[in-house]
């Protein structure tokens, strides 16, 4: 009886917690539709203030996340499967950078982007994003779980490291790669502080920065918020199983 009451209490708590999380999304969706679909028509066509910002978000997030996955997969292979002097030290440096609050590296990023002539361009966001250490760390851990015997067996057929990576390792750790990609995409998608520091032209800001300006009666802003939610939501819905698998167990069964 006590167990049943406890279970009921827990279920009630979870329902309330879930409602608390989902209610802002429902509220903003309902508010955006308070004038029918006109705010969405305005969003796309007549008042495309936020549309340009959304395409900036897409360019920055896709550029940085795709770049991250490419660079991190190769880095992870080296960290996990290639033995050389100083490898662990290099990997710890990666972890240290990952553990740092991003505000610490923001000023150096600003200086470097100024020096390289990247300031106030999308590349000021994309290039540092590509070399973000989190994906390399995640994929290294995933790659470590692939038995060395598989690579040794592959070595009998080919001496090309590239072919081993492309035909053996990448298909094996695909959920991990997808997971890293979605997490990096979402991180760039939600970035607010970096664009404000690394860019100054309003037309180049991503939507996350522009949403800051929404007022309480701004129906167009609510429509923009719904559009902003859509991409990460769809990505998660599409790659749900890969993300869960990517964050879970990798040992070959």
């Amino acid at each position: 009886m006590v167990k049943r009451i406890l279970n009921l209490g827990m279920a009630l708590f979870l329902v309330i917690a879930a409602l608390a999380v989902v209610s802002p999304v429902i509220a903003v969706t309902v508010l955006s539709l308070s004038e029918g679909i006109q705010p969405y028509v305005d969003f796309y066509l007549w008042k495309p203030v936020y549309l340009g910002a959304l395409s900036n978000s897409i360019i920055i997030s896709l550029g940085a996340s795709v770049g991250t996955v490419i660079v991190s997969t190769m880095a992870a292979y080296v960290f996990a499967k290639v033995k050389f002097k100083g490898r662990d030290l290099l990997f710890y440096l990666y972890i240290i950078v990952m553990m740092m609050p991003f505000q610490v590296t923001l000023l150096p990023q600003y200086i470097v982007s100024r020096e390289f002539g990247l300031y106030d361009t999308h590349f000021a966001m994309i290039l540092p994003g590509i070399f973000a250490p989190f994906a390399a760390f995640l994929l290294t851990q995933v790659m470590k779980s692939v038995p060395d015997e598989i690579i040794e067996a592959a070595r009998l057929d080919t001496s090309s490291t590239w072919q081993i990576l492309w035909y053996i390792l990448i298909p094996t750790i695909k959920p991990g790669i997808v997971c890293a990609w979605v997490l990096c995409f979402t991180e760039q998608w939600n970035a607010v502080a970096e664009p404000l520091v690394l860019m100054e032209t309003r037309e180049k800001y991503p939507l996350a920065v522009m949403l800051n300006e929404i007022g309480s009666g701004d129906v167009l802003g609510f429509a923009a918020t719904v559009m902003f939610l859509l991409a990460p939501l769809l990505l998660f819905a599409y790659f749900e199983s890969e993300i869960l698998e990517g964050l879970g167990d990798y040992r070959l069964k």
Partner: protein
């Protein structure tokens, strides 16, 4: 099946944002009513010290609230500069065979007015010049 639908929606989302961002200006032009405008002039009459706004009679419109014109304004608001129309109330002072002479009762200087148009004009709507 679920994944195919999500992929379709996501592709549609990305494509629509990019397409509207790239070709939005052309699309806005295409959907805006095409208008023929005429420059306004001023004329003073001998019995009056003030000058009256003059334009072809066709541009002077009337409804239950009085006479008005569609005044053309340029705007350089984001995302691009464009022409819009404003309904401006006027008081007709004199009309001859070709021209109407009016006093502007609300609004400021009018440089040009809409003479003919296709589609529906609304206050503040974007127009395409013929």
């Amino acid at each position: 099946m679920r994944k195919v639908v999500i992929l379709l929606v996501f592709t549609l989302f990305l494509a629509s944002v990019m397409l509207f961002n790239l070709f939005g200006s052309e699309l806005r032009d295409l959907l805006s009513p095409e208008v023929e405008i005429v420059m306004t002039g001023y004329r003073s009459f001998t019995d009056s010290s003030r000058a009256y706004l003059s334009f072809p009679k066709e541009a002077l419109l009337h409804d239950e609230s009085g006479s008005y014109v569609w005044a053309v304004e340029s705007t350089d608001e984001y995302p691009e500069s464009a022409y819009i129309v404003r309904r401006t109330d006027v008081e007709a002072v004199y009309e001859d065979e070709k021209y109407a002479y009016v006093m502007v009762t609300d609004g400021g200087i009018i440089n040009s007015v809409v003479m003919r148009w296709g589609g529906v004009l609304e206050n503040g709507c974007r127009i395409r010049l013929k």
